[in-house]
Each structure stands twice: as structure tokens, then as C-alpha cells.
């Protein structure tokens, strides 16, 4: 693969990953949100495998396979189980409406290009062209978390934030040391499981997963 092609593939792959995040903003159903996350994780694994092929690094292939297994299959399965329980709780009235959300999402990606200018200018890797999109996904995920009301949507926002960071790491550095990578995976998986337990707990205690009712502790 020529560097130009890798550069274009990086932008293409990153765009698909970012698109997964933006889909969260215009779709409202729980199933659509889970679909967006699954799509994003598969796109991320593919991008990672592509970089691994280019860099000739078998460790990246292993990480991509692990990612596909955990975030492309495992977590979506658990999410589907949650959907059966909370599927009726759609994001009907987020704090920010769809049109404004998409506008803000666009502005956040633009901001990401400005913030990452120094990164892109110092790197010599052909994959660096996708880095602004990765930071863009980080910003969009943060926006999802603060502008949506259902606990499940917030969990998805958090998972997407992690995807954004993984994308940033693979594009900018062609993979962080494997021991750190595995630890991060463990943390994400454990964190997700605990969050999932809490979502069930919120539902049991408050009879809905709308976080707007979590307003007792205030003064």
C-alpha cells in the first residue's frame, strides 16, 4: 500500500467511525443507537486492521480482533438485552433537539480540526490525516453524554468516547504498548458491566432510566 492510499483509507475509516457518533444525534430509538455503536466498532476494527497491515504489526491485528469480539459482538449482545427491557424508553425529548444537535456536532468536528492542527503538523505518519476526526468523535461523544437524558444513551456515549480514543491512538502512534492496550480493554469491559448493573438499579429504584429524576442530591 502506498502512503497516499493509507492516508485516504485513514480518513475514510475515521469518517465512518465518526459517522457512528453522529448517528446517535439524529436517531432516537434504542435499537438504532445500539446499531450505530455496533457499526462504529466494526468500522474502528477495520481501520485498525488496515493500519496493522500497513505497519506490518501483528499486535494491531490482535487488538483489532479483540475489539471486534468485545465491542462489535459482546457488548452489543448485552446492549440488546437491555433494549428488550428499556426499548420503550426512547430519547423523545433530549435537552437539545435534533437539528441543533447536528449543528453542534458539525461545529465540534470543526473545533477538533483547529485543536489538532499542531498534532497533524508534527507527525510524519500517513495515518495522521484521520486524527482530527478521532478528536472530533471524542467531542461529539462528550456532547451526547451531556445532552441526552436516558442512562442507556449516556452509556453509549461513554463507549463511543472510548472508541474515539482508540482511533486516536492507532492513527497517531500505530498502537500503544500492548500491555496498556489490554489493561484499557479490561477497564472498558468492567466499567461497562458495572454501568449496566447501575442502569438496571436506576430502573428498579426510579421505575425509569431517565436521569432527569436524579436530582435529589442538590442544594
Amino acid at each position: 500500500m502506498s502512503p497516499e492510499m493509507v492516508s485516504q483509507l485513514s480518513v475514510g475509516g475515521s469518517t465512518l467511525v465518526l459517522l457512528g457518533g453522529l448517528m446517535m444525534l439524529w436517531r432516537r430509538g434504542v435499537a438504532a443507537h445500539i446499531g450505530a455503536f455496533t457499526f462504529q466498532s466494526v468500522a474502528l476494527a477495520a481501520t485498525m486492521a488496515m493500519v496493522g497491515w500497513f505497519a506490518g504489526d501483528w499486535q494491531l491485528w490482535a487488538v483489532a480482533a479483540l475489539l471486534l469480539l468485545v465491542k462489535g459482538i459482546g457488548i452489543p449482545l448485552l446492549l440488546k438485552r437491555m433494549e428488550r427491557r428499556f426499548g420503550s424508553e426512547r430519547e423523545l425529548e433530549p435537552y437539545v433537539n435534533t437539528a441543533t444537535s447536528l449543528l453542534i456536532g458539525g461545529l465540534l468536528v470543526l473545533l477538533a480540526y483547529i485543536v489538532t492542527a499542531p498534532l497533524v503538523s508534527v507527525s510524519r505518519l500517513p495515518t495522521r490525516t484521520g486524527m482530527p476526526l478521532a478528536i472530533g468523535l471524542v467531542f461529539v461523544s462528550l456532547f451526547i453524554i451531556i445532552s441526552r437524558k436516558k442512562a442507556l444513551t449516556q452509556v453509549l456515549g461513554f463507549l463511543m468516547l472510548e472508541n474515539g480514543i482508540a482511533l486516536l491512538a492507532v492513527l497517531g502512534t500505530h498502537g500503544i504498548p500492548i500491555i496498556v492496550e489490554i489493561g484499557v480493554f479490561l477497564d472498558v469491559a468492567l466499567g461497562f458491566i458495572v454501568m449496566q448493573v447501575f442502569v438496571y438499579q436506576i430502573h428498579e429504584t426510579f421505575e425509569s432510566i431517565d436521569v432527569e429524576q436524579l436530582n435529589r442530591l442538590r442544594e
Partner: protein, 489 residues
């Protein structure tokens, strides 16, 4: 450099063994409690041993590519973590206490509190910034599990805010870590040890300032969220007040310090890349904001555990500012950290005793504390005076030194503002304390101390605070001077 595994194993293994034992032993057995406490004391002994090694001029390392490394800063933090863990093992949920926890709850608490201690100890002894990040992220997960030990609407709400805000914050710290690694790899090439402090510091001069500045902003927001720095502090008063008291003690007493530790490590790297002005400005800004918000929030609090939580934000803010005030400021900040660890963990244990007896978290419903529980009330008063920075307690000395460092740095105006906020905190805390100590005890309140042996270690904490206030022990001073060499650049 010595390569020895013994002190590391003695420090890190006991909490893991304790978690396993708690899982299999019946929690109501006396022996289970003894084993739990004994293991925590082994860890504490190991931390003291590490301090001894460090004072002898050694820097113990362990593991492939020096995965673990203990210098003076790590040793001090390890001591703080092991100290509070031991207190929590001695005084935490168990049989024979006023608190009524079911065996299942006692087991859950012991398992996860031990894992919590383990993750914090790994965080402060890891040489690799990636491993440190993994450990700090794990602290959120394992501690969040036991925040709602007793399920109620308030505790579920608090745990949700804690895990969501904590995880998101720490994820941002990882963005910063990746950016730091990115810059290193871009310049030096990929290397397994590139995420080690020692390697990052050694190569600091060639790193790109704009990239590292961006990385530090992410790191400060990320770890700052865990440290409870404003404006990312919103989860803290909820989680610290709704958690079981022994967990509150661990979270307020040392978790905040562990997060601050991560900031100190990165600050040293950033300061050698771009100079001290940039990180110092950010640290002073966030520290002052935390101090201001905490001081003003203290005035309107109605619950005593929330009062203590806001006081933690106040003191973390002070420590954060101290880090930016030159070598003397770093010295004061670290001394303050030790004082705060002792004072705040003690106060949360005492507030747990008060909560058990009065059955209410409201300040307004607690009165006549000195008459109802003379020892608990007396120690609570002493602890509060210590937190206010009054002599003869240690915080008087550390706050005074911190202010002196600020004036010496030519930041007199800023220090005046700090004094104003300290005065606000002083007046409001004293008012709240008065309301609790005196007055008539509620009718039919049982008088006298319950589980009276528990008072002993807490009285020991007050004694330690007085010692730290009259004359800082020579080994502690030596340790702090070494920390200044590491972090005071």
C-alpha cells in the same frame, strides 16, 4: 538501583489476598475480621519499609521494563493509601458494630474495598503512565460498586453520577496520555518503555511544546475530575456523602490525593518541556476556583458528611495551588496532603459513628453531641479544628508554609484572596460545629460510646495531627525534601 521484588510483593499482595479471603470466609467470623485487618497492616509495614529504602537513597524498581518504581513521592502516597486502608479494615463494616450491615454487605464491602486499595497502590507505584491510568480508572469502577452498599434513591443517584462523570473524566486523561505517547513516538520512535516516567522525563527536552501543552490540558481536566477540582467536582459531594463512611474515608482521604499524584507526575514532564509558567498558571486557576466554590458552598450545607466533602474540595484546591508555588510551595502542599489524609479519613469515620447513633445526616438534627458521645464528639471537634487550620494541628503549619511560599513568589494579592476564602470556610465550619456539639440531646437518645475500642485508632489520628503540628518528624521532613527535588522543578 536495586531490583528487589520483596517490598513490592509485601505492599501489593496483601490487599489481593484480603479480597480473596473476604470472598471465601464467612464475614461474621471474628477470625475473618482479624485476617482482614492483619493483611492491611502488612501493607502498611511494607510502605514504611519502602520509605526506609528511599531515605537510604535507593529507588527500588520491579518488573519487566521497570514497570514499578518507588521514589520518595510514590513512597509517601503508598504510606497514605496503606494507612487509610488499615483504618478502614479496623473500623469498616463488620460484626459487633453499631452499623447494621448484613453478612452479604460486609463481604461485598471487604472484597471491593481491598480491590480499591490494590488499584490505588498500583497507581502510585507504577512507573508506566499507561499502567497508572489503568489503575486509576479501575479505582472508579471498584469503588463505585460499593457506594450504594445500602440501596436508596440517593445512593443510586450518587453512584451513577460518580461512575459516569468519573469514567468520562478519566477517559479524557487517557486522551492526554495518548497525545504524550504520540509526541514521543513521533520523535523517538515506538518503544515499549516510552510510557515510563523516567524515559519521558529523560526525553522531555526534545518533545514538542504545543503538543505537550494540549496533552496537559486533557490530563488536568481528566485527573482533575477525579481529584475533585472545580468545575469538575459536581459528583464528589454526592458520592462522598452517600457512600458508607469507611469508603468515604478512603475516597476523601486518599483517592483525591492519588489523582493529584497523577497530576504532579505529568506536571514534572510538562514543566521540563515548556517551562513551569504554563502548568503553574493552570494549577493556580483550578486550585483557586476549587477553593472559592468549596468555601462558598460550605456556608449553605445542611448535612455534615457533605460538609466534609466540600472541605475536601477546599483542601485539594489548596494543595493544587501549592504545587505551583515553587519548591517551598510543593513542600507545603505535600505536608498538607499528609495532614489532610489523616484528618479527613478520621472525620469520616467519626461522622459514621454519629450517623449510626442519631440516624440522620442533617446537621440541624444533631445536637448535644458532646453529652451523647463524649469521645466521638471531642475527637470530632478536634478534627474540625484541625481542618480549619488552627494550631497545634498540622494543617496550621502546612497552610502557613503554603501562604509564605505564595508571598515569597510575589503573589501577595493572590494569597490575600486565598485568606479571604479560608476565613469564609473557617466561620461557616465553626458555626456548623457549634450547632452539633452543644444544646440538648434529642429525647430518648442513648448516651455513651458504642464499640468503644474503635475510638482508640481515631484518637491516635488526633495525636498524629498534633505531632505534625508541633514538629514534623525528621524522616518525614527528609522525605518531603526528596519529593521537592522530584516535583519542585
Amino acid at each position: 538501583m536495586t531490583v528487589t521484588s520483596a517490598p513490592f510483593l509485601a505492599l501489593l499482595l496483601p490487599p489481593l489476598v484480603a479480597a480473596l479471603l473476604a470472598l471465601v470466609l464467612p464475614p461474621r467470623r471474628f477470625l475473618a475480621g482479624v485476617a482482614h485487618a492483619a493483611l492491611a497492616l502488612v501493607s502498611l509495614g511494607a510502605a514504611l519499609g519502602l520509605i526506609h529504602l528511599v531515605l537510604d537513597g535507593e529507588t527500588p524498581t520491579w518488573g519487566p521494563t521497570d514497570l514499578f518504581r518507588v521514589d520518595a513521592l510514590s513512597a509517601l502516597l503508598a504510606l497514605c493509601v496503606a494507612f487509610v486502608t488499615a483504618l478502614a479494615a479496623l473500623l469498616g463494616p463488620g460484626p459487633g458494630r453499631d452499623q447494621h450491615y448484613t453478612p452479604a454487605q460486609i463481604r461485598r464491602f471487604r472484597v471491593f474495598a481491598s480491590l480499591f486499595a490494590f488499584t490505588m497502590l498500583v497507581a502510585v507505584t507504577a512507573n508506566n503512565v499507561g499502567v497508572m491510568w489503568i489503575a486509576i480508572e479501575a479505582t472508579t469502577i471498584v469503588s463505585a460498586v460499593i457506594v450504594p452498599l445500602t440501596v436508596s434513591k440517593a445512593s443510586v443517584e450518587a453512584s451513577w453520577k460518580y461512575i459516569l462523570i468519573g469514567s468520562v473524566g478519566i477517559a479524557l486523561a487517557f486522551v492526554g496520555t495518548v497525545l504524550g505517547y504520540f509526541d514521543f513516538v513521533t520523535l523517538v520512535g515506538p518503544r515499549e518503555s516510552a510510557l515510563n516516567w523516567t524515559v519521558l522525563l529523560a526525553n522531555a527536552r526534545v518533545l514538542h511544546p504545543p503538543v505537550i501543552e494540549l496533552a496537559f490540558v486533557f490530563i488536568l481536566i481528566g485527573y482533575g475530575t477525579k481529584a475533585g477540582l472545580a468545575p469538575m467536582h459536581t459528583w464528589l459531594p454526592d458520592a462522598h456523602s452517600e457512600a458508607p463512611s469507611a469508603l468515604s474515608a478512603m475516597m476523601s482521604g486518599v483517592l483525591l490525593a492519588v489523582a493529584l499524584y497523577a497530576i504532579i507526575r505529568w506536571k514534572a514532564v510538562v514543566a521540563s518541556v515548556v517551562g513551569p509558567v504554563f502548568p503553574n498558571r493552570l494549577l493556580i486557576g483550578l486550585g483557586l476556583l476549587s477553593l472559592a466554590i468549596a468555601a462558598l458552598s460550605l456556608v449553605i450545607q445542611r448535612q455534615y458528611k457533605r460538609l466534609l466533602a466540600y472541605s475536601s474540595i477546599e483542601h485539594t484546591g489548596l494543595m493544587c495551588m501549592g504545587l505551583a508555588l515553587g519548591p517551598l510551595g510543593v513542600f507545603a502542599s505535600m505536608l498538607h496532603l499528609v495532614n489532610h489524609t489523616v484528618a479527613k479519613s478520621m472525620m469520616f469515620f467519626l461522622s459514621g459513628r454519629i450517623l449510626d447513633r442519631y440516624g440522620t445526616p442533617e446537621i440541624g438534627s444533631v445536637s448535644g453531641l458532646l453529652r451523647v458521645m463524649p469521645w466521638t464528639g471531642g475527637l470530632f471537634a478536634a478534627g474540625m479544628l484541625a481542618l480549619l487550620g488552627l494550631p497545634p494541628f498540622g494543617m496550621f503549619l502546612s497552610e502557613f508554609t503554603l501562604l509564605r511560599a505564595g508571598f515569597a513568589d510575589g503573589l501577595g494579592g493572590l494569597m490575600a484572596v486565598v485568606l479571604v476564602f479560608l476565613a469564609v470556610a473557617f466561620v461557616s465550619l465553626l458555626g456548623h460545629l457549634n450547632r452539633m456539639l452543644y444544646g440538648a440531646a434529642p429525647a430518648e437518645m442513648r448516651v455513651g460510646e458504642g464499640s468503644r475500642w474503635d475510638v482508640l485508632p481515631l484518637a491516635g489520628c488526633v495525636a498524629a495531627l498534633i505531632v505534625l503540628g508541633i514538629a514534623v518528624p525528621a524522616p518525614m521532613t527528609a522525605l518531603l525534601h526528596r519529593i521537592v527535588e522530584i516535583a519542585g522543578r
